[in-house]
Amino acid sequence: MRERKITIWNLAVMNLRKKTCQTIATLAVITIFAASVFGGGILFLSLENGLNSVKERLGADIILVPEDTEEEMKAILLQGNTSYFYMSKDMIDKVQKIEGIDEITYQYFFASAGSACCDMPVEIIGFEPDTDFVIQPWIQEKLKEKIADDSVVVGGDIQVSNGHSIRIYNQEYEVAAKMDKTGTGMDQTVFVNMNTLKHMRQAATKQGFRFLSGEEEDLDKQISAVMIRVSDKQNISRIAMEIKQKTKNVEVMISEKIVSSVSDSLSFIATVVKYVLFVLIAMVLAALSVIYILQMGQRKKEIALLRMMGMSKSKIGRMLVTEAMLQGILGAALGIMIASVFVFPFNVYIGDMIGQPYVQPGSLTTLLYILGTIVLVTGASLISVSFSVAQIYKKETYQTMREGE
């Protein structure tokens, strides 16, 4: 049997294995640090992605909703709340005459019930494919042709139990496509064309459900929101003001302001995360440096014995650096695993809890962030051990040995 060579690497591994308590204590500090850096980072990246997603998905420059329903509209857009409100379809005619409007369309909001008739309570948005410029371009990422009658496109968070259809008011509708997650309310929304929506409404009414928009025949006269895209070079605020002047009982929402409210919250969270991270790094560097210096104090005799046997200062330094590096990598890996257990499976819950658009980063970004965390954490461990290594170079071996006796 070939004998294992005692290398610096093997020696470092043996030292870490045999000094179990010291290794566990150091690993605990490094693991907590890595978990905080990784968990906090993924949280921040998810919020940033959420903001970008909102910017991309809002589509319209101005949104008109019935009076006193602005907050409900925001909740539908950002948090996936189910809600419906209606106003007269005449609103489109009033608004589209205003100069500077490039495109105009409408949406009709409806909701499935939480009872046995439906797979789950979701927001249902009906849109007109011929005029739509908000939902259609997004849906086209997954569904190249126009959405057919009696088929639906579902948001990224909606679970399609049998894989191909969804039951709403005891009717099965074919799921034509499932969208990627956006971190917005659209993830919990079902999108349909107006013909499908009418079928859903009829089915609901037959089963005794009543809606605020009144009777069945009124469906063609009601809408929930008007979406407006302003022509290039036109002032959005000016057009919004003009709409306000020419309409009654309507809330005029400017998309940029919805985004900026999210952006303000994100910028606050970013500042908090940044400062917490700086403080954490400083604390961990200090704590690890103290831990390594204390451990060196306990290892003086061991170091002196290694010197007696002819181990050079640089080899001893390399041994200590290898130990710190191994602890750094292992602690980083453990920290990332622990943070992942919480951050990834509970992402929907975290997003709901924070109340902001929340989209987890993709695989490549996550992988890069894992590598970044390992480099940062291992780097911190190496910087911390450098003070201990410097001590070896400062002292004569005999002095170290005497101190260790």
């Binding site: 290694l306 007696m308 200062k313 640089s314 006796e405």
Partner: protein
């Protein structure tokens, strides 16, 4: 090998006051010498061994190995020289607690890539000679004082050094273990190793070919006649 100390002195600073641990030490040793060093605690005996081992540099004078001085040489050169030419048995428990007896003994032989690699068979023969072969897989914490000392001696001998330095190697051992170790030293000296042994025990001095006493701290004087050592 010939070892020569020429007017060697070592000065330390304690509480901002300088003091000489050793001064005006002149000594020469040649192949086969078994030299005992006696003296009171704090008289500079261990300092002398550490000067010979190159673990500290003299404040004045020089230490010559075959007429070559290593003072001022890079740490890598001195460390490698110590690893291959000098065996050191330190005072007290001096084994690496993280390694087994087997790994402790072969450790100095693994530190540098040299042609003088010791085979497993040679290691077992060395352990046989010291009566510790059965302890191969034990850790230091499982050994008695005498066993630990014999393992430390085996480790010091693994690279077949020209000089063996032993700092009170029998200090805490019973008569039987003391005798075993001193016989091993005597045999080694016969085969050509220069041995320096620091001891408090006058009876062990009888095994050496010559003895020196370090007297009066700063002012150091050496005598060769064992009977005049009081």
């Amino acid at each position: 090998m010939n070892l020569t100390l020429k007017d060697v002195g070592k000065k330390y600073t304690r509480n901002q006051t300088d003091f000489w641990a050793l001064r005006h030490v002149n000594l020469s040793a040649k192949t086969g010498d078994f030299i005992s060093i006696v003296g009171k605690s704090g008289s500079g005996k261990s300092t002398l061994l550490n000067l010979i081992a190159g673990m500290i540099s003299p404040t004045e004078g020089e230490v010559l190995y075959d007429e070559i001085s290593y003072i001022g040489a890079p740490d890598k050169i001195i460390s490698k020289f110590r690893n291959q030419k000098i065996g050191y048995v330190a005072q007290g428990q001096s084994l690496l607690s993280n390694l087994t007896v087997w790994d402790n003994i072969r450790f100095p032989n693994q530190l540098y890539d040299s042609e003088k690699k010791v085979s497993a068979k040679e290691l077992e023969e060395l352990m046989d000679k010291l009566g510790i072969r059965d302890l191969k897989t034990s850790y230091p914490e499982q050994l008695s004082g005498g066993e630990m000392r014999r393992v430390a001696i085996a480790r010091a001998l693994v690279n077949s050094p020209d000089i063996l330095l032993a700092d009170e190697p029998t200090g805490d051992l019973d008569e039987e273990n003391t005798r075993i170790i001193l016989e091993i030293f005597k045999e080694l000296a016969k085969k050509g190793t220069i041995i320096f042994m620091v001891t408090h025990d006058k009876e062990t001095v009888a095994y050496s070919t010559s003895a020196y006493a370090i007297l009066d701290g700063n002012m150091t004087k050496f005598v060769k006649n064992i009977d005049n050592m009081e």
